[in-house]
């Protein structure tokens, strides 16, 4: 399978590999995929007071396109508001990386991952709001 230069670049030099503290209330973690399908993506975002993603990290088990999709996504979401990040579409990722049809699912997985991370962060934030007294 021929990979695009952009996939190769992200694969060779993945951006933002690593982990954030998943217990940090400002960190949202999304883990999607399954080993049975050949890819598991873990995406983490750190959100500041203004609701802007100030850091993003990923770890991915999967093919080169899956790694490139998650790497690209961490680059894109940094500096974005949660709302902006939610609106990222898998088709944009696929287009940017010139993914072949058999690899489109990698971009879908990346979109799922950021949505899951945001949902996790929002769930944490909501839980905090519901119990402000205890937290103080």
């Amino acid at each position: 399978m021929a990979y695009s230069d952009k996939v190769l670049d992200h694969y060779e030099n993945p951006r933002n590999v690593g982990a954030l503290d998943k217990n940090d209330p400002n960190v949202g973690t999304g883990m999607v995929g399954a080993p049975a399908c050949g890819d598991v993506m873990k995406l983490q975002i750190k959100v500041n007071e203004q609701g802007v993603i100030e850091d993003a990290k990923f770890k991915t088990y999967g093919c080169g396109s899956a790694i490139a999709s998650s790497s690209l996504l961490t680059e894109w979401v940094r500096g974005k508001t949660l709302e902006e990040a939610t609106s990222i579409k898998n088709t944009e990722i696929a287009a940017e990386l010139a993914l072949p049809p058999v690899k489109i699912h990698c971009s879908v997985l990346a979109e799922d991952a950021i949505k899951a991370a945001i949902a996790d962060y929002q769930a944490k934030a909501a839980a905090r709001k519901n119990k402000p007294a205890n937290a103080a």
């Binding site: 993945p14 999607v32 995929g33 399954a34 080993p35 049975a36 399908c37 050949g38 088990y61």
Partner: protein, 404 residues
């Protein structure tokens, strides 16, 4: 050292220069370009002579009579001819076949086709070693079983089935025995008579011959009958019509002659290289050899690097040409069905690399491969959420995955 390094000899092999040399005469305009079926002139006779000499060389490697060799376009055609040919011819005697889940697609897909035609097929599970248990095979036999098809050497994991034992049992039960020997000819000794094989599929391009040529051994005593799958002209005693590609037959003959002469010495050399590779990787954590290591052809090492996805590893190993399974399925996203049949879990089935070493592999190439694999596996594991969880002590089999 020339790169990329080729370690995919089970997918295909380069033509040995000695083989190419021999083929040359049948390719040039001033050489022997005749149609071997032309009976009326010297061009045809010379071509036929070359084809018959090649047939004798193919027969010699497997202990057969040249008259028992039917040329085909490759092992896939040989498998199709053996299975459909026997099933159709003996269809009135019985309509049951037995095979194994780890067979090559050419056997499995042909069996599926026969099922669509109303035949019944039992697909045996192999043992975790990759080999079929003889007792389980015997238990699967029925009075209406006409054919058992079990490969000699598996293309992905290289394990060698004891086909002599299978042959004896199948013969005693009155069925016919076919074996796909595409991966074993020239690598493991074959004697069709000692092994009681009735039909044997062979390929040239897996053993330094050209692509597009293979053969089916069809026993004459006791005579095995089959229905031709390609009609017209009645070549190959009516079993397979079509103009014989003289240069290809000659190439296969020469490849088999060389293999017969050099197999013992070559196997020793390949085994040393394979062991060198294995010893270079075995101390890494979470590395598993797939299939029995002892009962295996010399040039094959199939390993799973747990928590690393195979395709990404192959991409990381771009300086080395390896595969994550058989060439036929490596373009798909499915994990190896062979490893799944062995009972490997998802992660391990997705994490396998097949290294196959061959005639032109050097110790330097192996050493380079070891270095590169260690480096890239470490890099990918640092990137792998599964590796992270494993190190945190999470039991991955208990995780509820959000599959998609």
């Amino acid at each position: 050292m020339k790169q990329p390094i080729y370690l995919d000899y089970s997918a295909t092999t380069p033509v040995d220069p000695r083989v190419a040399e021999k083929m040359w005469r049948y390719l040039t305009p001033d050489g022997d370009f005749g149609n071997p079926a032309s009976r009326s002139h010297v061009f045809g006779w010379r071509a036929e002579e070359a084809v018959e000499e090649a047939r004798a060389n193919v027969a010699a490697l497997i202990g057969a009579d040249p008259k028992e060799i039917v040329w085909t376009s490759g092992a896939t055609e040989a498998d199709n001819l053996a299975l459909k040919g026997v099933a159709h011819f003996y269809g009135k005697k019985g309509r049951h076949l037995v095979t194994c889940k780890t067979e090559h697609k050419a056997v499995l897909d042909t069996c599926r086709q026969l099922e669509r035609e109303g035949f019944e097929v039992t697909y045996l599970d192999p043992e975790p070693s990759g080999l079929v248990d003889l007792a389980k095979l015997e238990a699967a036999m029925r009075p209406d079983t006409t054919l058992v098809s079990l490969m000699h050497v598996n293309n992905e994991i290289g394990v060698i089935q004891d086909i002599a034992a299978v042959g004896a049992m199948v013969r005693a039960r009155g069925a016919l025995f076919h074996s796909d020997a595409a991966q074993s000819a020239g690598k493991a000794p074959i004697d069709v008579n000692r092994m009681n094989v009735d039909l044997l599929s062979l390929s040239a391009h897996k053993i330094y011959g050209p692509k597009g040529i293979g053969a089916l051994y069809v026993r004459r005593k006791p005579r095995v009958r089959l229905e031709a799958q390609m009609h017209g002209g009645g070549h190959e005693r009516g079993m397979r019509s079509g103009t014989l590609p003289t240069h290809q037959c000659v190439g296969m003959g020469e490849a088999f002659r060389v293999a017969r002469a050099e197999m013992a010495a070559e196997n020793e050399r390949l085994r040393a290289l394979r062991d060198r590779l294995y010893h270079g990787l075995r101390d890494m954590p979470e590395v598993y050899v797939n299939g029995d290591l002892e009962q295996r052809v010399a040039g094959n090492l199939n390993v799973s690097f747990n928590f690393v996805e195979g395709e990404s590893l192959i991409m990381a190993l771009r300086d080395i040409a390896v595969s994550s399974g058989s060439a036929c399925t490596s373009a798909s996203l499915e994990p190896s069905y062979v490893l799944r049949a062995l009972g490997r879990n998802d992660e391990l089935a997705h994490s396998s690399i097949r290294f196959t070493i061959g005639r032109f592999t050097t110790p330097q190439e192996i050493d380079y491969t070891v270095r590169l694999v260690r480096e890239k596996v470490a890099k990918l594991r640092a990137m792998s959420p599964l590796w992270e969880m494993y190190q945190e002590g999470v039991d991955l089999s208990k995780v509820q995955w959000a599959g998609h």
